[in-house]
């Protein structure tokens, strides 16, 4: 049953990518991609629930459906669905791209496929390849609009990320080496095998390998100081792609760090490994805060907010324990929903005002009462204000930090979150309440496709803010017990 569902989930986007490529028609490509995203979403929910009874292994143990992986799969599926709905409306606003829109949808499905792939890879080497493939496919999505800026962003993205994850490959090789002292020269490098062999591995070698892997996949996650590609790529790609990059891809790479963290904990160097992750998390928050306060680009603002939130997720896993892991996983879901909403709103505003510059966007509320309200609610949510999901997840992460004795990180995090709250909402105050310039700009009308996904993202965000489903909490604690991060 799970095997069949998993197969459907992988085949749907693959078929969509192939179909778009063969048919080369805009209308068909739109529908194919949308259908694939619905299929992925529909299969991801039962798979996440079933994963609790797993893990399930397939294809000579190369593929695994386990709880942490399934959770990231679910986050990816949600963002893929929302972004596919949004893409229908948004991409129609780009008449100049009409001719090659099929290639956009082919790449978009392919991108979703590679991210989904990375979540179920059971072999550390194959996981690396899946992450590398996500880069290659998404590079062309980032540069899709072919403006000088987007090509520049795509080039920086591929160079920085390729250089970064080559470090992760080196770390992977060193992990294989350290495992070979325990498991013999030839073995299958599955996450489970490494975690089991962990207690007998050499701590020095594991530490070196972990640091390389952390910097490598950390580049892909966008942890500071390896975040420099992120703001360019997120701001220059079409809005649905920005949402996928931020809500799906970053989580997919974070999953790798978490799996290696679990191995480090088994090898007895967990407390050092977690402290390094906490330090990177705090630095990401700091960089995010500094760049959010002084920011002119509307999508760059969202990009730095992603750096900040990946920092928060890193802090959650870094603090460890059941609370830390649960908070981080909850934060992943909430951030995926919220950041999609924010990028959709930013894309709409950017298209209708015809500019990316916050200083030229004025009077959003008077012009778009409904859509503007949704976006403003999203802005309040992303800064961690109640009653939205991110408030709860950040609170749990803070509590985990205090419980585990990372007081310095907790207090720094609180200060930085307040700075971000003020800085981020100040930009929204300008866009919503500042006096409009004399010259009225003609605004491009927006279709329902552009606003509907914002509703779909905000509703669960509000729900998760007032009610943390007990079943979800149990699911998270079960994941915490599987990963054993920071547990005795």
């Amino acid at each position: 049953m799970t095997g069949a569902l998993l197969l459907v989930m992988m085949i749907a986007p693959a078929a969509s990518a192939l179909g778009c490529f063969l048919l080369r028609a805009r209308g068909a490509a739109e529908k194919l991609n949308l259908a694939a995203s619905i299929m992925v979403f529909v299969t991801a929910i039962p798979l996440t629930i079933m994963s609790a009874r797993g893990p399930y292994h397939y294809w000579a143990d190369y593929i695994v459906l386990d709880m942490p992986g399934a959770w990231v799969t679910l986050c990816t599926a949600i963002v893929y669905l929302l972004a596919s709905i949004y893409a229908v409306g948004y991409m129609r606003l780009l008449p100049e791209e009409e001719e090659k829109l099929w290639s956009f949808y082919a790449l978009f499905s392919g991108f979703a496929l590679t991210v989904l792939f990375s979540t179920v890879m059971n072999n550390a080497g194959l996981y690396w390849i899946a992450i590398e493939l996500t880069t290659l496919v998404s590079t062309f999505l980032v540069g899709f609009e072919r403006a000088a800026e987007s090509i520049e962003a795509a080039w920086k993205y591929i160079i920085i990320v390729s250089a970064g994850i080559s470090l992760a490959l080196l770390g992977t090789v060193l992990f294989y080496w350290s495992g070979s002292f325990v498991l013999g020269p030839v073995y299958d490098m599955t996450w489970g095998a490494l975690q089991q062999a962990g207690s007998k591995m050499n701590p020095t070698l594991v530490t070196l390998a972990y640091l390389l892997v952390l910097v490598g996949y950390g580049t892909k996650v966008g942890l500071a100081p390896m975040h420099s590609w992120l703001s360019d790529a997120h701001s220059e790609s079409p809005a649905p792609v920005s949402a996928m990059l931020s809500g799906a891809l970053l989580n997919g790479a974070m999953l790798g760090i978490v799996r290696y963290l679990a191995i480090c904990d088994a090898a007895g160097v967990g407390s050092f490994a977690r402290t390094v992750l906490v330090a990177l998390g705090v630095l990401s928050l700091l960089i995010g805060a500094l760049f959010i306060v002084r920011q002119d680009g509307i999508k760059r603002l969202m990009a730095y907010s992603s750096v900040e939130h990946m920092g928060v997720v890193a802090l959650g896993f870094g603090f460890g324990g059941l609370f830390g892991v649960a908070g981080a996983l909850y934060h992943m879901l909430n951030h995926s929903l919220n950041k999609s909403l924010m990028f959709f709103g930013a894309g709409n505003v950017m298209r209708s005002f015809g500019t990316k510059d916050i200083r030229d966007i004025r009077g959003v509320w008077t012009r778009f009462p409904v859509q503007g309200s949704l976006w403003l609610a999203g802005a309040a949510a992303i800064t961690g204000a109640p009653p939205f999901g991110l408030f709860l997840s950040e609170l749990v992460i803070l509590r985990a930090g205090l419980e585990r004795g990372y007081d310095w990180a907790v207090y720094t995090m609180i200060v930085l979150l307040i700075v971000i709250f003020v800085g981020f909402l100040n930009h929204f105050r300008e866009m919503y309440f500042d006096r409009e310039p004399e010259a009225i700009v003609e605004l491009l009308p927006l279709s329902r496709w552009c606003v509907a996904p914002m509703w779909f993202a905000l509703a669960p965000l509000l729900l998760f803010g007032v009610w943390w489903p007990p079943a979800m909490w149990e699911h998270f604690t079960a994941i915490g017990r599987v990963l054993k991060i920071g547990l005795p």
């Binding site: 072999n123 080497g125 194959l126 390849i129 590398e132 493939l133 290659l136 590079t139 062309f140 540069g143 072919r146 403006a147 000088a148 800026e149 090509i151 520049e152 962003a153 795509a154 080039w155 920086k156 591929i158 160079i159 390729s162 250089a163 080559s166 470090l167 490959l169 080196l170 090789v173 294989y176 080496w177 070979s180 002292f181 013999g184 020269p185 030839v186 073995y187 299958d188 490098m189 050499n202 701590p203 020095t204 070698l205 070196l208 703001s231 360019d232 701001s235 220059e236 760049f291 002084r294 920011q295 002119d296 680009g297 760059r300």
Partner: protein, 226 residues
């Protein structure tokens, strides 16, 4: 563990090849002509292919002959050909603006080798492998990594960046042959194919750079800041 009890002849051959490829990395670092980079890279790939075969012979891993063949074919012939095609289309023959003179880059490169040796020595000691070829392999692996990053940092041409990334990969591949010859063949083959796709993607992107930005120098890529 292969490296722990290796006969002296095999150990010397491995060491010789590892050092030869490190030297070729220095050739790349010290030259400013793009064609020279490319020849050095191709030569380095051939040395690594020979190393794979040698490890396969002395360590009793027959599947490494296949890897050696594929390495020679892909890394030694096909990749340099792809890069050569890009060079020909670009009409850029050398680095024009250098942050660091090749001579200074060599000195920094040498320092990075010393650093790598210090790290590897420490790791080797903790594994009771001090004085074996493992320490040398780890040193070469880490220093080729650092040299690759140095090339990425001090060069501006898009092509130098591609070659810098390929040096990073070569370093890992070389170290992996000596340290973990038992690594599953499937993974190695997939990584080789992956590299081809990477370079193909770079080729397409370089074309876009020329067409839409008008330059392949990273000095011109400064529209996006802050």
């Amino acid at each position: 563990m292969l490296v722990a009890h290796l006969d002296p002849l095999a150990a010397s051959i491995f060491s010789l090849m590892a050092i030869a490829s490190l030297l070729l990395a220095f050739v790349m670092l010290g030259s400013r002509w793009l064609n020279n980079y490319l020849y050095a890279f191709a030569a380095e790939s051939w040395v690594i292919a020979a190393l794979s075969a040698a490890v396969g012979f002395y360590g009793g891993y027959p599947e490494l002959y296949l890897i050696a063949l594929l390495t020679a074919l892909f890394r030694g012939l096909f990749l340099p050909y792809l890069v050569w095609r890009i060079i020909r289309r670009l009409s850029v023959a050398r680095e024009i603006h250098e942050i660091l003179q090749p001579s200074s880059a060599l000195v920094v490169g040498a320092l990075s080798v010393v650093f790598s040796l210090a790290v590897s020595y420490r790791v080797g000691q903790s594994l009771d492998l001090a004085g074996t070829v493992a320490v040398l392999a780890l040193t070469v692996m880490l220093s080729m990594k650092l040299i690759g990053f140095l090339m990425l940092a001090v060069r501006h041409e898009a092509l130098s960046h591609i070659l810098g990334l390929l040096v990073l990969e070569n370093g890992i591949f070389l170290g992996a042959q000596i340290l973990v010859p038992g690594m599953p063949v499937l993974i190695e083959i997939v990584i080789l194919f992956d590299l081809l796709i990477v370079v193909a993607c770079f080729g397409v992107l370089v074309q876009y750079l020329v067409a839409h930005v008008g330059s392949t120098s990273s000095l011109e890529l400064k529209r996006l800041v802050g």
